[in-house]
């Protein structure tokens, strides 16, 4: 019996990061990127539509920032895990994300395997 793939929505305003991240996650047999958002509004909409296992959220995006997106997603798709991705450990920005209930935070530049592990942790709580 094959376990169903973990569905992931990616959200990042930088096209290169977006594409690279998609390729990194898609390369994993148990992960599937179902949608890619370019800003916070798109991320909210796509998360609601797909109810993915995990949303990877750039917390410095145009359009209301990561905090608002995280709150909206938790409201509209309560079972979706949220992984915050930031360009550096921004105390203020991360504080906002934490307040919105986000627990997983990865600084950009972390290795692919760290990102993949974090996605799996969020998607299959208790399994890894």
């Amino acid at each position: 019996m094959t376990t169903p793939k973990l569905s992931v929505v990616i959200s990042d305003d930088d096209p290169m990061v977006r594409d690279a991240l998609r390729d990194v996650l898609d390369a994993e047999p148990d992960l599937e990127v179902v949608a890619v958002a370019r800003d916070a509004d798109e991320a909210i909409e796509l998360a609601e539509r797909h109810a993915p296992a995990v949303v990877v959220l750039d917390i410095r995006m145009p359009g209301g920032g990561g905090g608002r997106a995280a709150r909206e997603i938790r409201l509209r798709s309560p079972n979706t895990g949220i992984l915050a991705l930031s360009a550096f450990s921004d105390r203020e920005a991360f504080g906002e994300i934490q307040a919105a209930g986000v627990t997983e935070h990865i600084v950009k530049g972390a290795s692919n395997s760290d990102i993949i592990a974090a996605v799996r942790r969020l998607g299959r709580p208790g399994s890894g």
Binding site: M16, A87, F88
Partner: protein, 495 residues
Amino acid sequence: MVHSDAMAADQSADQSVDTDFERPPEDSYRLLVDSVVDYAIFMLDATGRVVSWNPGAERIKGYSAEEVLGRHFSVFYPADDLAARKPWHELEVAAEVGRFEDEGWRLRKDGTRFWANVIITALFEKSGSLRGFAKVTRDMTERRRAEEALKSSEERFRLLVQGVLDYAIFMLDPAGRVVSWNAGAERIKGYSAEDMLGEHFSVFYPPEDLVARKPWRELEVAVDVGRFEDEGWRLRKDGSRFWANVVITALFDESGRLRGFAKVTRDMTDRRRVELTLSEQRRLVGHLVEAQELERRRIAWDVHDDSIQSMVAVGMRLQLLANRLPDEDAATVRRLDEAVRASIGRLRNLVFRLRPPELDRHSLVQALDHYLTDVTGPLGITYRLRHSLDHEPPVESAITIFRICQEALTNVRKHAQASELEVSLSSVDGGTLVEITDDGVGVGTPSGGRAFEHFGMIEMRERAETAGGWWSLEGGARGGTAVRFWVPTPNGGGP
């Protein structure tokens, strides 16, 4: 009975004395007169010949009684008075109205002059016929000299005031009309004395002040508190404006009556220009700091949004690639990825340093505290932040202080290998003194003198000096390094 006006007062005093009072002996007046040395007291007969003489007369005029008795009193007068027949005229007046008083030059026996106060009183018989004259003369030469000295010093003072060019010094009558005018007033205001005498001083005030009735209010204040001082625009005759410092002093006489005002005006236009230039300069420094911050912010976002993102993407792709390559090639690609990630780390530090300090939301000390936590945490350095600030420095000073601290802390991180760090801020001399001390390796002897030419040091010093302060780097007391700098607090903020 012989008496003079000088004794009239004594006589009237006598009247109030009770009748039992024993009358003084007949010759008591003579004794009195004979003892007076400060006044020449003597009698003339009806034609003006000297008939009595006292020691005062001898002392003042130089003649003994023998020399002068029987001579006409005109011997005491200078030639020009004789030509004008003054002695005879004086007797005529005295005979007519009872009394004559005069001040003027008289001659001593040796021909020298003295300034005399003279009172001649006509003496009449009970029948009413003229018997003669009592003459009391006082030598006023000393007093006159003093008065002359006073007058000439007043004159010198007047000339001084007249001649002063740097100040307009003039007087107003109680109503505010100009009653005197000096050269400085003419120079500064452009009006001549002829233009101004009798004019109301409100002509010096611009229309907006007249509407506010400022000139009149100024006089009222001067009357109330004695003095009024002001700085403001005033008008020259040609209508141009100058920036004036004005002091108005109310002048009261001994009885407390207002006699007028003294007004001293100074043209401060040049000084004001200099002051404006200074505050202009301060404003420019403020702009400079602001512009620098803007530039930094832009660079920070550029690096963050573009360079770092691209490199992050490149890193992710390199890792993907490595996973697909045979081991020997994979190793090379992984090394490439390591290099990229190290660069990302350095760029992230750069962005962190370039980011605007949190001074819009936090105090300087709080912002520094946060920054210290961020910087020292990963390095395992313990820090102490002490402060005794009277007040929060204005934002441009705070930015300057924060940026210098940042640079110094970067050096601690990069060079010091310190385990402890102390940062203290205190209010000193109208500014903020900051000391950053580490217990690291110290700067040592700069290798080839170049250590002090790196940009970090230059930037710190330039920031402090641009803000009008100073910066220094020394070996710490317990080894290590001490950076000290002081940044003045711009006073009043300026425009």
